[in-house]
C-alpha cells in the first residue's frame, strides 16, 4: 500500500520507517527540512517539506493516490483538520490521527476518526500498574 505520513517527529518518522521496512511505499511531510534526518539516509520514500494544511503540499506528497494517511504533527488541531481533509476531501480509506488531548481524541473518535491518544494510553497504563500493585498489597495484607 501507499501511505502518507504527516509529521516527522519521533512518532511519525518511526512509523514511516517501520512501514517502509515492511515493503510499503511511504511519503513523509514535515514543515522542518531537518526532520528528514530522523528518517535515516536509507529511507526509500520521498520527503516533502511544507505545511500540511496546504493542499498543494498534501498533493505533492501524493495524497490523491494514498491508501492510508497518518497525521502525527505536534499540533492536535492541525492533525484533526488534515485527517478530516484526508478522509472527506481525498477519500483516503484508512486515516489515523494522533491527538494528545484525551477529550478531543474522544470527541473526534465519536465522529468517526481513528484516533490514537498517547496521553490516554499513559493514563491507562499507569492506573493499571498502580491498581495491580494496590491489589497485590491488599492480598499480602489479608
Amino acid at each position: 500500500m501507499f501511505v502518507v505520513v504527516v509529521g516527522c517527529g519521533r512518532v511519525g518518522a518511526r512509523v514511516a520507517r517501520d512501514l517502509a521496512e515492511d515493503g510499503h511505499d511511504v511519503n513523509v511531510i514535515d514543515q522542518n527540512a531537518e526532520a528528514l534526518q530522523r528518517l535515516g539516509s536509507d529511507f526509500p520514500g520521498e520527503f516533502v517539506q511544507g505545511v500540511a494544511l496546504e493542499t498543494t503540499v498534501l498533493e505533492a506528497a501524493g495524497i490523491k493516490r494514498a491508501d492510508a494517511f497518518v497525521a502525527a504533527t505536534n499540533g492536535d488541531n492541525t492533525n484533526l483538520v488534515i485527517a478530516q481533509l484526508a478522509r472527506d476531501r481525498y477519500l483516503v480509506d484508512c486515516v489515523i490521527v494522533r491527538v494528545l488531548d484525551p477529550a478531543r481524541a474522544k470527541f473526534y473518535e465519536e465522529k468517526g476518526l481513528v484516533t490514537v491518544c498517547p496521553t490516554r494510553s499513559a493514563i491507562d497504563r499507569m492506573s493499571q500498574a498502580l491498581r495491580a500493585f494496590a491489589t497485590g498489597d491488599e492480598e499480602q495484607a489479608a
Binding site: 494544511l53 493542499t55 492536535d76 484533526l80 478530516q84 472527506d88 476531501r89 470527541f107 465522529k111
Partner: protein, 219 residues
C-alpha cells in the same frame, strides 16, 4: 444573548466591546498569558485564560449555554476545531469563524464551519465592487493622502481627504481592518505603517466616522 468569543486579539476584544455595548453577555477566551492579563484589566471576569480548543476550557466558559460562538484566533486550524466542538459537542447553533489565510477557506467549507469572515476576501470584494452602490454605507473606505491630491475611491464610500502616513490611527471605537497597497490587500497588523496612496478599510462605530475622517484628513 450570550456570546463566547475565542481569541482575544484586536478582533475578539473589539467584538466583545461592541457586543457588551449592545447589552449582550460576553466571555472572551485567550490563551496567551500576557494578552489575557491585558484583557482581564478591561473585561475582568468576562476574560478567561486558557486554550480555547480544549473542551474543558470551553465548558468553563459556559459554551453549553452560548447562543453564539465566535472563533477568531489567529490560527485557522484552531478556529475550525473550535467551531466543530462548539456546534457538535456543545450544541451551539450559531458559529462564526475567522479565516486568517484565504487559502484555508475551502477547509472551513468542507468541514462545515460557517459562516466565515475573511478580511482579505472582504477587501477584495470591496475592490471588485468599487464604484458599485454596494459600497454605500459599507465600512469606511479611506485613502492615505497622495502627494498632489488623493484618488477618489468613488462609489458612495466615504473617501478620506488623506492620512499623512505613518501608523494607522488608534482611535477608540475604530478598527483598521486592512490596507490595500499597489492592488495588494493585507490585513492590518499592529506594526502596519500607512503610506501615501494606501487605501484602508476601517470599521467604525456609529458616530465615530467623523472623528476617523479627521484623523485621516490631518495635515
Amino acid at each position: 444573548m450570550y456570546a463566547v468569543i475565542v481569541g482575544g486579539g484586536k478582533v475578539g476584544a473589539n467584538l466583545g466591546r461592541a457586543l457588551l455595548r449592545m447589552g449582550h453577555e460576553v466571555s472572551i477566551v485567550e490563551a496567551r498569558p500576557q494578552r489575557y492579563a491585558t484583557l482581564e484589566s478591561e473585561f475582568e471576569h468576562m476574560a478567561r485564560h486558557g486554550d480555547g480548543t480544549e473542551i474543558f476550557v470551553l465548558d468553563a466558559a459556559g459554551m453549553a449555554r452560548a447562543d453564539v460562538c465566535i472563533a477568531v484566533t489567529g490560527d485557522d486550524e484552531d478556529n475550525i476545531i473550535i467551531g466543530q466542538v462548539a456546534r457538535d459537542h456543545f450544541g451551539v447553533e450559531n458559529v462564526v469563524a475567522r479565516v486568517n489565510d484565504p487559502r484555508n477557506q475551502q477547509h472551513f467549507d468542507l468541514l462545515g464551519v460557517a459562516p466565515t469572515v475573511c478580511a482579505t476576501e472582504s477587501i477584495l470584494s470591496l475592490i471588485e465592487h468599487e464604484g458599485a452602490p454596494a459600497l454605500a454605507g459599507a465600512p469606511v473606505l479611506a485613502e492615505a493622502r497622495e502627494p498632489g491630491g488623493h484618488r477618489d475611491p468613488g462609489g458612495g464610500g466615504q473617501p478620506g481627504r488623506g492620512h499623512p502616513g505613518g501608523r494607522p490611527p488608534d482611535a477608540p471605537g475604530t478598527l483598521v481592518i486592512s490596507v490595500l497597497r499597489n492592488r495588494v490587500g493585507r490585513v492590518a497588523a499592529p506594526d502596519t505603517v500607512l503610506g501615501a496612496g494606501d487605501q484602508v478599510v476601517v470599521i467604525a462605530e456609529p458616530g465615530q466616522d467623523s472623528a476617523l475622517m479627521e484623523l485621516f484628513a490631518s495635515e
